[in-house]
């Protein structure tokens, strides 16, 4: 626990945390503005899709994950707790990894399905190309 650090050391950790979180946040925002064309208008890899955007997103997620680690381990003193407590809090959250993969995959499927339906709805049926209509529901509506 923090008990075996001196009071001065503890205060130093607080100001170190303030600097660290502040600098990461400023770098994140500056990089976001750069990657989305607000600093150099021709550079827009952060919103163009594809590999550039994937890399941009990974960098942002990494920086945020580091901020989260610092807050949990040093501001909330998780670093000073026994292993049983650390594991019982952190291990369950790994379930979220699969939740993210599964739900995002599901989301892309909804998108693809919607596109497919739209495409089918806009398709023009070419009458008379395959001989007689086969379904009885269609027989009244098809001409040719």
């Amino acid at each position: 626990m923090s008990a075996h650090h001196s009071y001065e050391d503890q205060k130093k950790l607080v100001f170190y945390g303030l600097k660290l979180l502040g600098i990461i946040t400023i770098v994140e925002v500056a990089f976001a503005l750069f990657a989305k064309g607000h600093i150099v208008p021709s550079i827009t890899f952060g919103k163009d899709g594809g590999f550039g955007q994937a890399l941009y997103m990974l960098a942002m997620i990494g920086a945020s994950a580091y901020k989260a680690y610092f807050i949990i381990f040093f501001f909330m003193h998780m670093a000073g707790e026994v292993r049983g407590l650390v594991l019982s809090v952190l291990l369950p959250t790994t379930l979220l990894i699969w939740a993210i993969i599964a739900f995002f995959h599901e989301g892309s499927r909804w998108g693809a399905a919607r596109e497919h339906i739209k495409e089918k709805n806009e398709q023009v049926v070419q009458p008379g190309t395959s001989g007689k209509p086969t379904g009885f529901l269609l027989s009244g509506t098809m001409k040719g």
Partner: protein, 294 residues
């Protein structure tokens, strides 16, 4: 037989061996009941927020396009200019500062310094209240001036290159040339009051690329779930900040009254509300990432 088991138990107690940590007689997590339960409450709350943020990602992944955060969040008080993400960065700093003052309050609690605890907790409350004020401003801009609601989203992005036309298909000229729009460029449909309801302006584009090349389409609203997701998730976080501020105030008043000083447990109650307050900051790290950076 009985003798050996007794001596064994004593040994366990003396050496505090990990093998017998769950045998009873000592707290295996080495924290008080209240702190342990606060940690587990935070785990469950983390899952709630994770569920919301994953829902946001799932719906965003299912849409062909999504409003761009640096276009949507660009208002700043007293400034007319378009300042992408600047105000929300300020909000993030307010929350970081209040987290830091909270750590200081907990440290002063360990030293049994009542004045220090109350002083730093007061600054933390101010930080939390400032954050709520900023959020109120942000919501007001979106709802009142940009007409976003839980069912309406005037922010979107063009799906292909083209030129702006009016209702009859005539090109809208700007400085003697047709107004061009580019794929992925952001737009905001301005709204006006009509018979007591908000009506969004109608915009038409004749596309020159993509599947609709040569056709004229009305530019509709962007993905409608955007507003509902934004207000619900940032609102849920704001509700956590609000309840945090209320509990911080209660505990600050208790600390002032000398209640925790008489308990002589290093102001453990301040430590517990500190855990909650840092968690609120932690959630903001991810809300900031998901809504404003990605």
């Amino acid at each position: 037989m009985a003798e050996t088991s007794v001596s064994h138990a004593n040994e366990t107690h003396e050496h505090d061996s990990d093998d017998h940590i769950w045998d009873g007689g000592q707290p295996p997590m080495k924290v008080s009941y209240g702190k342990l339960m606060m940690w587990y409450f935070l785990v469950s709350d983390a899952f709630t927020f994770a569920g919301f943020l994953i829902a946001y990602g799932t719906i965003r992944f299912s849409m062909p396009s999504w409003p761009e955060p640096d276009f949507v969040f660009a208002s700043f008080p007293f400034v007319q200019a378009h300042l992408p993400l600047v105000f929300v960065t300020f909000m993030t700093f307010v929350l970081i500062f209040s987290s830091v003052t909270m750590v200081r309050a907990v440290q002063e609690g360990h030293r049994e310094n009542k004045r220090g605890v109350v002083f730093w907790m007061f600054l933390t409350v101010l930080g939390g209240a400032t954050f709520l004020g900023c959020q109120a401003y942000e919501w007001t801009m979106l709802i009142k001036y940009e007409n976003v609601s839980v069912t309406r989203n005037p922010f979107g992005r063009y799906v292909a290159d083209g030129i702006m036309v009016d209702e009859s298909g005539k090109e809208i000229m700007e400085n003697g040339a047709p107004t061009e729009v580019k794929k992925n460029e952001s737009y905001l449909l301005h709204g006006h009051e009509h018979n007591g309801a908000v009506e969004l302006q109608k915009k038409y584009v004749r596309y020159s690329t993509g599947a609709y090349a040569g056709q004229t389409h009305e530019i509709g609203q962007g993905p409608k779930a955007f507003g509902a997701l934004f207000f619900f998730i940032t609102g849920f976080h704001g509700f956590h900040v609000l309840s945090g501020v209320i509990f911080l105030l209660l505990i600050m008043v208790n600390a002032m009254s000398g209640l925790y000083a008489s308990r002589k447990n290093g102001y453990e109650m301040v430590e517990k509300i500190g855990l909650y307050w840092h968690f609120v900051d932690l959630v903001w790290v991810f809300v900031f990432l998901v809504f404003y950076l990605l």
